[in-house]
């Protein structure tokens, strides 16, 4: 059964591109959210396996969203993403409870799979 993914980003163009990349790689994209608040609501409603979460959101910081949804048994795997380089964020990615980071321009099925397994 395909892994389910929620894409959280405030740029519609990136959400559309990411959906196409992930669906091409065999993932099932079950929803999109443009900000932190709607992301939290969608995670509660759809219980996705994976959340592809942009760091810079218009309301709640991506690190905060990650910290809130991880840390319990049936928590989704959170993968942070940004158009900035991962090294800009230092150890914040791991401290937030996220599994890892993928730069937006480098998003692909194999890169995501590598983090999940």
């Amino acid at each position: 059964m395909a892994r389910t993914v929620l894409i959280v980003d405030d740029h519609p163009s990136f959400r559309a591109s990411a959906r196409r990349v992930l669906e091409d790689a065999g993932y099932e994209v079950i929803g999109e959210a443009p900000d932190g608040a709607s992301a939290l609501a969608a995670i509660g409603a759809h219980r996705p396996d994976v959340v592809l979460l942009d760091v810079q959101l218009p309301d709640i910081d991506g690190f905060d969203v990650a910290a809130r949804v991880t840390g319990h048994d049936d928590a989704p795997v959170v993968v942070l993403t940004s158009s900035r380089d991962g090294s800009d964020f230092g150890g914040m990615v791991i401290r937030s409870g996220a599994r890892g980071f993928i730069a937006k321009a480098e998003l692909s099925g194999p890169r995501l799979e590598a983090l999940l397994t």
């Binding site: 163009s13 591109s17 196409r20 990349v21 091409d24 810079q56 321009a105 480098e106 998003l107």
Partner: protein, 585 residues
């Protein structure tokens, strides 16, 4: 002033006539002894108070001291009628008998600024008024003059309600008892007032407060010693009279002393201004000392800004004169130079202040130049801070624009290219579609980057100069723009850039807010400066202070030592004009 002068002359003549009328009354009195001395005291006190009071009233019409002193003299003269043997005149004389003391009390309480300051002073003043009027008059209706020991041959009291000597004495005791309490309270109030004065002010005030206080204290002592009898009721003791006689002269002495002190201080001020630099004191300190007002402040007029500033170059609002502070203008060659902000009580010394200001004119002019320089430096510092802040804000905006715009498009482009790469073998048609999509995305990204670059610095300006850049600007706004004039030669880059942004901001404002049908742009160079002017025929009413855009422009222009002017009355369009110094290159 002519009306006041006539009224004062009439009052003086009236006082003189009253004095003359008192002469036969006192000299033929059947109950005043010794008559000669009594007459001398009546006239000396009455005329002294009236004459000094009228002069003071004339010189200082705003201060009630002159009026009160004149009233003391006049009522004193009227009270001499109690020496008559006529029943009506005795009654009038006795009714006026305590008024001079009440008026003297008010004069002392309100000395020297003409105001009552504390609750105690107000209470004493109100009590004094009641005591010398109603409480003084009430017993008179129960006193049969002929029944008193020293007035057996006097006529009957024509206003007698009842010949009730016990009631008379009771009311009299209440009256004099209250008078003693009030005089004691007044002396407490005067001592408190005395303590509140600065040591250098005390010498001028001492004679008045102490002679007046002594007169009333002697009166209180006399009242305390004997709370009954016609003489006490009509006017107190000989000691009190002598102290009273000294009050007007003490007042004159105090005034002269104060004036001499201050005039002397002004002379010292002038001398100190001419002293060698190492002995010269600060102008403000010298003026503050000369006028005994440590709170004195100098405000300097900056003609360019059309406002007053303090010594540090900060804007200052002059007091409107309604409170305890007021100001005296200092002019030089008919133009405002400075303002001396001082305690309102010094307003009476305005002529001396003006003299001091005129004497210090050159020094004030020098200080003003320093202050002007400081104000300019301060303005430049503020403007520099705003420019730095605006620069940081621009960088943040640029980062945001890059992040949200071109960077997102390039990210999408990368993902699309990767998808196309993955599909090229098994789905060549799909890969081609993705590549076409990528090409469109790339065009959009290029176009956004071009716009962004132009916002950072217009390449056409640096490559082809202001005329071409202005044409490019004009072509991009929806309002028809007439370019009246641009300089043929290239201007220094900083001047070109500042001029360009003035025009760009003005045209943006016209497009957004002005509802204009046309706009005119001109850039002219003459007399070592470049004038950039943008005019429209729109709504007008622009407020430079409210918009960050125009203030940013003003800062940019000020950084080049230039000046931005905005003329924008409602309904008459807007003209934005920048004058930027530009020496020939």
């Amino acid at each position: 002033m002519i009306g006041l002068r006539r009224a004062l002359i009439a009052l003086g003549a009236g006082a003189f006539a009253l004095g003359l009328a008192a002469i036969p009354v006192v000299l033929t009195s059947n109950h005043v002894r010794p008559r000669g001395l009594a007459l001398a005291m009546f006239l000396a006190i009455g005329w002294s108070f009236t004459s000094v009071g009228l002069v003071l009233w004339w010189k200082r019409p705003q201060n009630p001291a002159g009026m009160l002193m004149s009233a003391v003299g006049l009522t004193w003269l009227v009270s001499s009628l109690s020496a008559s043997s006529n029943g009506y005149l005795i009654f009038i004389g006795l009714a006026f008998g305590a008024l001079p003391y009440g008026l003297l009390g008010l004069m002392l309480l309100s000395f020297p600024d003409g105001r009552l300051h504390t609750r105690l002073e107000w209470a004493v003043a109100i009590g004094a008024v009641l005591d010398v009027t109603i409480l003084q008059w009430a017993p008179l209706f129960f006193l049969q003059f002929a029944h008193t020991s020293d007035c057996r041959r006097c006529q009957a009291n024509p206003l007698l309600i009842s010949d009730d000597s016990s009631l008379f004495h009771l009311l009299q005791k209440v009256n004099t008892g209250l008078a003693v309490i009030l005089i004691a309270a007044l002396i407490v109030a005067l001592v408190k007032r005395w303590r509140s004065y600065r040591p250098r002010e005390r010498p001028a005030l001492a004679p008045v407060l102490w002679t007046g206080g002594a007169a009333l204290a002697a009166l209180a002592a006399a009242f305390t010693a004997a709370l009954s009898g016609l003489n006490q009721a009509s006017g107190g003791s000989a000691v009190s009279d002598i102290a009273l006689l000294l009050v007007p002269y003490a007042f004159l002495g105090g005034m002269l002393r104060s004036r001499f002190t201050r005039a002397g201080a002004v002379s010292e001020l002038v001398a100190s201004l001419n002293a060698a630099p190492e002995h010269r004191r600060g102008l403000r300190d010298a003026l503050a000392d000369a006028f005994g007002d440590p709170s004195l402040v100098l405000a300097y007029w900056l003609p360019e800004r059309e406002r007053y500033v303090d010594a540090a170059g900060r804007d200052i609002t002059l007091p409107d004169g309604s409170g305890h502070r007021t100001w005296t203008p200092v002019e030089r060659n008919g133009a405002p130079l400075a303002a001396i902000v001082h305690d309102a009580s010094l307003a009476e010394e305005r002529d001396l202040l003006e003299t001091a200001g005129a004497a210090a004119g050159l020094a004030l002019e020098n200080e003003r130049l320093h202050v002007e320089l400081r104000a300019r430096v301060e303005e430049l510092e503020r403007s520099r801070e705003r420019i730095i802040e605006a620069g940081l804000a621009e960088r943040r905006k640029l980062e945001r624009n890059l992040h949200d715009g071109a960077q997102q498009r390039l990210v999408a482009l990368a993902l699309t290219m990767r998808l196309a790469h993955d599909r090229v073998d098994h789905d060549p048609k799909g890969a081609r579609e993705l590549l076409e999509e990528a090409a469109v995305e790339l065009d959009s990204a290029t176009s956004e980057l071009r716009e962004l670059a132009r916002g950072i610095h217009p390449a056409v300006l640096s490559e082809r100069g202001l005329p071409a850049a202005v044409k490019a600007l004009a072509s991009r706004v929806p309002v028809p723009v007439q370019i009246v004039e641009t300089p043929a030669e290239r201007l220094p880059p900083v001047v070109e850039t500042a001029g360009y942004y003035v025009i760009a901001e003005a045209l943006t404002n016209i497009t957004r807010y002005a509802h204009a049908s046309t706009a005119r742009v001109s850039v002219s160079r003459n007399n070592g400066s470049v004038t950039v002017e943008v005019t429209d025929d729109g709504d007008g009413g622009a407020e430079p202070a409210q918009g960050t855009g125009l203030r940013g422009l003003a800062d940019r222009v000020a950084a080049l030592d230039g000046r931005l002017e905005v003329e924008s009355s409602a309904g008459h369009g807007t003209t934005i004009r920048a004058r930027i110094p530009c020496v020939s290159s």
